[in-house]
Amino acid sequence: MDLAPFVKTGLISEALNLWLAVPIGFLFGFGLYHAGFTDSRKIAGAFYLKDVGVPVVMFSAIAAGTLGLWGFGLAGFLDLSKVYFLPTYLVPMAVGGLLFGVGMAVGGFCPGTAVASVATGRLDAVVFIVGFFGGSLLFGDLFPVWGDFYRSDFLPNARLDQVFGTGLGVNVLIVVVAAVAGSLLMRLGQRHFWTTPKDESLAPEQVLKYEVPYVTAAIVLALAAAFVPTRAFVKGPVPEPYYIVERSAAGAAQRSIAPTAVTLGGGRSGAVPTPPAKHREGC
């Protein structure tokens, strides 16, 4: 039980972990290319609803990741308390997101897609990366100017199920349904505003062939996560945060998970929520 994360359970060494990042990155880069993310026109096209492939890819990746993460946690394979969890600083993240969105509409890339695009030889991506370097330096070198804002508005109980007070499984279902509905909505928008979609992979027959089985599987899994009493799947006594919380127990679990900001549950020590001091594990 709890074999993963491999490097944190001591199954593999730190050095091997670093090298294994290369094939994982390879899959990521290969996926980014096949998603069409190396083309700035396609990314920017999403903001005109001209080509909604980009949000559809993002929604599918989120749905797959959510199901996998909580599924592995539920099965007792992945120790969620050892997984890095993104802390929430609400207002800085909202302002950062707005600026980031403007930057994406102007520049046509985000960092990961620009890196992938550089590998395909695109020169606008190279210029974008140079700009990104400049923007990072600007933030870092003038950090005293916005440091206080950067550290403000830390939210300790920042998981959707904790905020909404629903069970984790219900929230997994909500995220999957939102991803599917968001994709459909984006496509309707594209069909409404642009009569001739450029991307043939979004044609109805392609959608039926590739998407219906996957979307069905995702929804079935998410329904299972939300409505099957999952406690029965886990053998022996298991600490609360390891499995998908029952709806009736959501309130209690919420309090027990509450103090942790850096991990996905786990620690019930330390009653005072404090922001993580320095997290070099983030993106």
């Binding site: 990042a21 990155g25 990521f28 890819v57 990746a61 930057g103 960092p111 990961g112 594990e281």
Partner: protein, 170 residues
Amino acid sequence: MDLRRRWPPVLAGLLIGLSMLLAWVVAGRGIGASGALTAIVATLQHWIFPTLTERSAYFAPYFAGGANPLNDYLVYLLIGVLLGAFAGAASCRDLSFEVQRGPRATTLGRLAGALAGGVLTGFAARLARGCTSGEGLVGAAQLSVGAWVFLLCIFAGGFGAAYFVRKQWI
């Protein structure tokens, strides 16, 4: 699956989701791109202005105790991303040195836009503690409130700004 053609979006998304899952299972952390880029530029600045960089409130932890920020998980991941995207483009015969621009955009205008967009996202990614991959996708899959706010704000900012840069793209 035909490797010579781009995949349908849902399959490409599934592959990206799979790489996220593998990173969680192997390393206990998410994928990301902006962190590695910041580590690279911090190292560049450290070569030119070592004392200034080590005294910087933001970059000092990168070099604490003589650490090398390039010996970092995300940097190795970035190497993989470069290789993966190169392999994808090579298998589709899509490698070319060109400036991608909209039908009404000039090359110079497009490059200026790319530079400005890069500066904005570079700043914003550090302010928000991540970018679309590490924060938007990974955080959203972890059901992080901050990530969902970030993601929704990206779309708000993008749709809001789209009208003003429409000559770049459509």
